[in-house]
């Protein structure tokens, strides 16, 4: 068990489509499970606070958009050997970053005041504050590899994980691209 490679995934500001595409590897997941131990992420019931200290590979879905994302992404960098930007939101900011054109104030005002039926808007409590702008993951922490696509096709995910397992440097540009 201990000889297996520790794989984690994390879901920041994204739609979870990349995690869905990961599951589309179907029976290849069984093949992967012989070499990989899944230690943290949305597929299992484990809190982020318990993110292990010695993760080998972490796939990051989503962009860094609020203070919680920022906190999490710094922790996973400390505790993971290889970080892979997983999908267009992590690689480019993608749809999540479209608010950068307007800024968070204007965006919130439009979504929650102008379009709201309520007369008065309550101050939000206990939710993470939005950052001034949305960032691709590599703008915030060092990223080892990139896996673009919206979502990345399962073939590309399988290829990248295998290359990293084999100690090779993946470049999945033959299998995927922005918007794929």
């Amino acid at each position: 068990m201990s000889s297996k490679v520790k794989l984690a995934t994390i879901w920041l500001d994204g739609c979870s489509g990349c995690h869905m595409s990961f599951l589309d590897m179907d029976e290849r997941l069984i093949e992967l499970s012989e070499r990989i131990e899944y230690v943290s992420g949305p597929y299992i019931d484990r809190k982020f606070q318990d993110y292990p200290e010695d993760v080998d590979i972490c796939l990051v879905e989503g962009s860094v958009s609020n203070e919680e994302d920022l906190h999490k992404v710094c922790i996973i960098r400390e505790r993971s050997k290889k970080i892979i930007s997983f999908g267009d939101c992590a690689v480019t900011g993608n749809v999540s970053a479209m608010r950068n054109i307007f800024g968070p104030k204007e965006c919130l005002a439009h979504s929650y005041e102008e379009l709201s039926d309520e007369d008065s808007i309550k101050e939000p409590i206990d939710i993470p504050k939005l950052l001034e702008s949305v960032h691709a993951v590599h703008e915030v922490i060092d990223v080892d590899y990139f896996l673009p696509g919206c979502p990345p096709p399962s073939d590309a995910i399988f290829y990248v994980i295998n290359e990293v397992l084999e100690g090779r440097e993946p470049n999945p540009s033959h299998l995927t691209r922005f918007g794929k």
Binding site: S85, D88, V91, T92, G93, N94, V95, A97, M98, N100, I101, F102, S133, A136, H138, E139, Y145, F146, L147, P148, C150, N171, P172, S173, H174, R177, F178, G179
Partner: protein, 238 residues
Amino acid sequence: MATKQVKTLKIDGMDISSIQGSSILEVAREHDIYIPTLCFVEGLCAVGSCRLCLVEIEGSGKLLPACTTQIYEGMSVITNSEKLLKYRQMILSLMFAERNHTCAVCVSNGHCDLQAMLQILHMDHIKVPYMFPRLKVDATHDRFVMDHNRCILCSACVRVCDEIEGAHTKDIEGRGIKSNIITDFAQNWGDASSCTTCGKCVQVCPTGALSEKGKAVSEQLKRRSFVSYLKSMREDVL
């Protein structure tokens, strides 16, 4: 009687001869040598605006665009090298960073020359920070939409409107980072009286900057071959 002279040159070490006055890009294409470009459209004037076709020429200290550089006797050209790939990747990075190309939600997703170029140049991310400029979408025309967020300023629309359609509805205003495609006197496209609604600009646009209304993403395929056909037809008549 002046006859066209033949020039001999080397491209990537291969001995080649072609007619004087040809560009490096034309000669390379005649010999199935691929040089990347986003602004060159067969049948339109070459302007060297995208810079992706930069090549190395022996004896010249600078890189020159293959589409606007004419061949000469004894020339030796390199179309592909580590250095050129790095420059081309940076050029593409700058194009993506300069505007808001959110490929996942683009009308041209899946059939966009800019997007395809990422794969041709083996790119999996953009190397510079994005600028996120606030730009307009002009949907005032009955049939077409101009989305400035997705424009790479290749000027193919300006050239086809001027050189083939003869309307010159489109032009470029501003300089440098402020450059922008306009219609007539920087009016809304729907108010541009010189536009003949021919749609040639939409067909030559390499990205989703120009699109047709009422068409699904999968139907937004661009057809460019008409340009050289129309041009040769006109030359025959004249």
